[in-house]
Every structure is written in structure tokens, then in C-alpha cells.
């Protein structure tokens, strides 16, 4: 391989060809690379830079305040962290239910080959529709005179209508249920794809050894699909932690801004088109929150990949 490279380098025609190809590659990638620099890197640096200022969108009035915005976030105004609390709470409520339900359904589907195509297509259906519409549909189902209250009353679970958006706990429950409905099908698909890749001989030899159903699942199935399961877990985690639109539409923070997730809080506070007040928001402070959010998500993804990487080496 090295010899080939050396020979190519000494050949002027090959060098010219390599330069031509390099040029063409960069030309074909020109739009995404420009987009990366202009519409991703620059905006991230912009938020990082303004996080050090007291800034409300009017540059003349901006005042350098150093780490003050971050200090306020950490010592005085805990709203942002309460929103992280909500977000983590939803992840803790949602992910175990969603992932175990998806696993059960995927295991069943993998052993009922014939009908599984139809069922999995329907399970995936909620994931293809607009998240905003999911929020709207569930805000109808959960509304005071909505069908959920109607059914629960007919079943005798509740005696009178429940206002699902009257307390933080109920709001977060509604969000969690809607979220599970929205995304469990994606996990069914991934897990089912992984399960069908496990060779049948593995199960046959386990059956010959007299392994019980539970032992087969935990000792054989789970380790065999571990790589896909880790991907599913990471995607589910990032997806749940960055939940946004469904919160804006379904609870809009009700009651009184208590049920926002991190992303929906930032959107409602700072993003034009969603800001409720007419005054310009304190953008500098928002940039500090945004910077912390960016870093926290990067750290979560990094730590996760390291941890699951070392798990990989150990098994």
C-alpha cells in the first residue's frame, strides 16, 4: 500500500489527478461546508460570545458582564435547572416503559414471523406524523371534556373530570404518555431488526442445553443485540432530553410555566414567533443558558459513547 502511494507521488500525472479529485470533492461539498461554517459554527460561537454580555438584541446597549450570566444561573435563578429536572423526570418515566414495551413487542414479533410486518408498520405509524399534530391530538384527548376523562369516568377510575394541566405532575404524565405513544415504534423497529439478525442456531443450541426462556433472553439474546441496543438507548435518551414541540403544543408549560422541558423553555422564552411578551427577551442571559445546554448535550453524548465503549471492551 505504501509502495503504491510513493509511486503515485513520484508520478506528476497522478499528482495532478489527485489535485483534480480533491478540488471536485470540495466543490461537491461546498454548500454543506459553507453551511457548516456560516449556519452552525458561527451561530454557536455567537451564542457563546453574547453569553458574556448583558444584551437584549440592541448592540449599542450591550454591556460586557463576564461570567455574571452564568453566576446568576447557578446561584440565583434556578428556573433553567428546574426545567432540566422536568426533562430528566420525563426521561426516567418514559424510557423504561418505552424500551421494555418495545423489547417485549419486538421479541414477540420476531417469533411470529408471518404477521409481524403488519403490526410493526402500525406501531411505527405515530413516528411518521408531525410531533406538533401529536401534541394537538393528545391535548384534545386530555382536555377537560376529553375522551380520556370520559373513559376513566365510565370505568369508575375517577369520579369527576380531572384537569390534566392543573398540576406539574399530571402535565408531565400527559407529556410522558404522549411521548411514549409517539416514539415506541421506532424502538420496536430497531430492536426487531437486531433480533432477526441473531442466527437461529444460537437458539437451537441453547434449547438443546435446556436453557429456560429467561436465561436465553438475558444470557444470549440481550448480549447478541447489545450494539443495537446501545444505539437505541442513546437515540432515545437524546430524543427524550431534547423534547420540544410536543411540550409547546400539549401543555405549553401549564400550569404557569411549570411543565416545560429545557428546549421548550428556551424556545418559549427566547425564540421569535414563540415569545409571549412583546419586549425583547434578555438575550445575553439566554445565550448563557443556550451555551450551557450545548455543552451539556455534548458531554452526555461523549460520556455515553465512552462508557458504552468501555463496556464493549469488557464484554
Amino acid at each position: 500500500m505504501k509502495g503504491v502511494k510513493l509511486r503515485m507521488r513520484s508520478n506528476p500525472g497522478a499528482a495532478a489527478k489527485r489535485r483534480r479529485i480533491t478540488l471536485q470533492c470540495y466543490l461537491m461539498l461546498a454548500l454543506p461546508i459553507i453551511g457548516y461554517l456560516v449556519f452552525t459554527v458561527y451561530p454557536v460561537l455567537w451564542t457563546f460570545a453574547w453569553s458574556l454580555y448583558s444584551y437584549n438584541g440592541v448592540a449599542v446597549n450591550a454591556r460586557f458582564v463576564g461570567w455574571e450570566n452564568f453566576a446568576t444561573m447557578l446561584t440565583k435563578d434556578f428556573t433553567y435547572w428546574r426545567m432540566w429536572g422536568n426533562t430528566l423526570l420525563m426521561a426516567v418515566m418514559k424510557m423504561p416503559v418505552e424500551l421494555s414495551a418495545a423489547m417485549i413487542l419486538a421479541v414477540i414479533l420476531s417469533r411470529r414471523g408471518k404477521a409481524s410486518g403488519f403490526f410493526r408498520s402500525v406501531y411505527y405509524l405515530p413516528s411518521v406524523i408531525s410531533i406538533a399534530v401529536v401534541g394537538l391530538v393528545f391535548s384534545n384527548l386530555f382536555s377537560y371534556f376529553g375522551v380520556f376523562n370520559g373513559i376513566l369516568m365510565r370505568l369508575g377510575v375517577i369520579e369527576a373530570e380531572v384537569d390534566w394541566f392543573s398540576s406539574k405532575a399530571l402535565s408531565l404524565t400527559a407529556l410522558t404518555l404522549a411521548g411514549i405513544w409517539n416514539t415506541f415504534g421506532v424502538n420496536v423497529m430497531y430492536l426487531l431488526a437486531a433480533l432477526t439478525n441473531v442466527p437461529a442456531e444460537v437458539y437451537e443450541s441453547a434449547a438443546l442445553d435446556g436453557a429456560s426462556g429467561g436465561a436465553v433472553f438475558f444470557r444470549i439474546t440481550l448480549p447478541m443485540i447489545a450494539p443495537v441496543f446501545r444505539t437505541v438507548l442513546l437515540l432515545s435518551l437524546i430524543g427524550t432530553l431534547s423534547v420540544n414541540e410536543i411540550v409547546l403544543v400539549l401543555t405549553n408549560g401549564a400550569p404557569g410555566g411549570q411543565s416545560f422541558s429545557v428546549m421548550s423553555y428556551l424556545t418559549r422564552q427566547f425564540v421569535p414567533g414563540f415569545i409571549s411578551s412583546h419586549n425583547l427577551p434578555p438575550l445575553g442571559y439566554g445565550c448563557a443558558m443556550s451555551a450551557v445546554t450545548t455543552v451539556l448535550f455534548a458531554v452526555i453524548a461523549f460520556v455515553y459513547s465512552r462508557v458504552s465503549g468501555t463496556m464493549d471492551e469488557n464484554t
Binding site: F119, N140, T231, V249
Partner: protein
């Protein structure tokens, strides 16, 4: 021996019954919100408010659909038109860019390839919380591109559809290198090989990407809301529907919202019914790569 199989048969029949009960229960829970919304769109507002436990409309009416045709602030035909051209433009752009970038990352040899690819991949984990919209809008207005869907489509030109790039890259890598070499002997350059040889072979994966991009753009809520805040006549269907919910009379217009939801859902559901294998192939290609 015989007895054993019979017991085994009974056992497996019982197991199958339990399996199908669980599958069907999950199916019912999945379909219920959609079926309820669909049937609800044929109820009068009166019926929606007074008999919430009922699933089927007692007096089915098309009134809600007539109403959204010329409701104030919810002109469904104009919203549909906006959604359609916004979606079509995005699909075209996404497919073209994913195809080119995927090809370059699969076949191109150039300094900086790994770094560029790593930077693009890292985007999966960049979550800014939305404040990056301010510098983006500042850039657009310095280019004299004002608000509206046009500005959003312009920005899409510079988008990085990283998951789709992964899909094309994987697909191209699986194509035999001999194809490129033969075309090269025939005098094709790197770009020529893409347009003449590779691109035509990408049809299946580009169909997958087109349908995923269609779904994403049609369903898009955040960005079109931001960009049409100052130009409400350019709202897409999803944005119009949600602004109906946020308006003052929301509590009394459930009938309009349900009918609007059905109209917003139908194109995606139709696409899913027809192209369901494309959705699934996109997903499973992602899983294999993962």
C-alpha cells in the same frame, strides 16, 4: 412422544394466543388516538363538548371540513399550497445534497475528509436550544433575504442532512468499484462518474431519502413558525393549525382543529401507506450503521 407433541402443540397454541393478545392490545392503543381524531372530525362542536366519552359521531357531518375551507385565519387551500411548495423544494434540495455528499464521502480521496466527516457527524449532538436563530436571521437579512418560507428554503440549501448522507455513503460503498474504474477508462472524471454512473444506481436510497425529507418538511413546526411569524400569509398547514390552537377561541374550535389535523395527517399517512418499505429501509439502514 405423541403425547408430548400434543402437549407442546397446546402449549404453543396458548403461547400464540397470548402473543397475539399483546400485539393486538398494543395495536389498539396505537390506533386509538388517530381513529378518535378521524371520527371526531365528523362531529359537531356541540357533540364534541357534550359527549366526550363517545368515539363514534352520532350525527356525522362534513360541516367541519366546509368550515376550514373558508374559516377566518385558517384558509386550508392556501396553507396546503404553502406546505406543498415548501416541502417539494426541501425534498429536491435534500436529495441532491445527500446524494453528492454521500458519494464524496464514500468514494472521494482528499485531504481533510475524515475531519469534515467528523464535524458533520458531530452535528447530531449539537443542541443549541434555538437561540442560534438570531445570528442566522442576521446573516439572512444582511443578504437581503427577508422572512418567509423562501428564506427558510434558501437556508436549507446550506443544510447538512447528515443521516441521509450516511445512508447514501453506505449505499455507494456497497456498489462495486469496477463500475467507477470502467467509467474512468471511458474518460469520466470524478464528478462525471457520479452523474453518469452512480446517481442512476442510487434510485432506491434516494427514494427513501425523498420520502423521509417529505415527511420531515411537511411535519416541520418550529422553523416555519419562526420564519412566518411576520408573514402569516405564508404559514404552512402545520403552523396554521397550531396558531389556531394558540388563538383565543381555541376552546370552542376543536371541530376545526380536528378536521385540520386530519387534512394535515392525510398526505403523510398516504405516503406511509404507499412507501412504507422506504421508511423502514431508511430506518434499518440506520440501525446497521449504528
Amino acid at each position: 412422544m405423541n403425547g408430548n407433541t400434543r402437549i407442546g402443540g397446546k402449549k404453543s397454541a396458548a403461547a400464540a394466543a397470548v402473543d397475539y393478545i399483546i400485539l393486538t392490545l398494543a395495536l389498539a392503543l396505537t390506533l386509538f388516538p388517530l381513529v378518535y381524531t378521524f371520527l371526531g372530525s365528523f362531529k359537531s362542536n356541540m357533540e364534541i363538548m357534550t359527549d366526550p366519552g363517545a368515539v363514534f359521531p352520532k350525527l356525522p357531518t362534513l360541516g367541519n371540513y366546509r368550515a376550514i375551507l373558508n374559516a377566518e385565519g385558517f384558509n386550508v387551500l392556501r396553507l396546503l399550497w404553502n406546505s406543498s411548495y415548501y416541502t417539494l423544494a426541501n425534498v429536491f434540495i435534500t436529495v441532491t445534497i445527500s446524494a453528492m455528499a454521500g458519494y464524496v464521502f464514500a468514494r472521494g480521496e482528499f485531504p481533510g475528509k475524515k475531519a469534515v466527516f467528523a464535524c458533520f457527524t458531530a452535528l447530531l449532538f449539537v443542541k443549541t436550544g434555538g437561540l442560534d436563530i438570531y445570528p442566522k436571521m442576521a446573516i439572512l437579512s444582511s443578504l437581503h433575504i427577508n422572512q418567509g418560507l423562501g428564506a427558510l428554503i434558501f437556508m436549507q440549501l446550506f443544510g447538512i442532512p447528515i443521516v441521509n448522507i450516511y445512508l447514501v455513503r453506505g449505499f455507494v460503498k456497497a456498489l462495486p468499484r469496477e463500475l467507477d474504474e470502467a467509467a474512468e477508462i471511458d474518460g469520466c472524471g470524478f464528478t462525471g462518474i457520479f452523474f453518469r454512473v452512480i446517481m442512476p444506481l442510487l434510485k432506491p436510497i434516494l427514494a427513501t431519502i425523498a420520502i423521509l425529507a417529505f415527511q420531515a418538511s411537511w411535519n416541520d413546526y418550529l422553523m416555519p413558525t419562526i420564519f412566518t411569524a411576520a408573514a402569516p400569509e405564508q404559514q404552512t398547514l402545520i403552523v396554521g393549525l397550531m396558531s389556531l390552537q394558540r388563538s383565543d377561541g381555541a376552546a370552542t374550535s376543536w371541530n376545526l382543529m380536528l378536521a385540520g389535523s386530519v387534512v394535515a395527517l392525510l398526505p403523510v399517512l398516504a405516503a406511509y401507506a404507499v412507501g412504507n418499505r422506504f421508511f423502514i429501509s431508511g430506518l434499518s439502514a440506520g440501525a446497521v450503521k449504528g
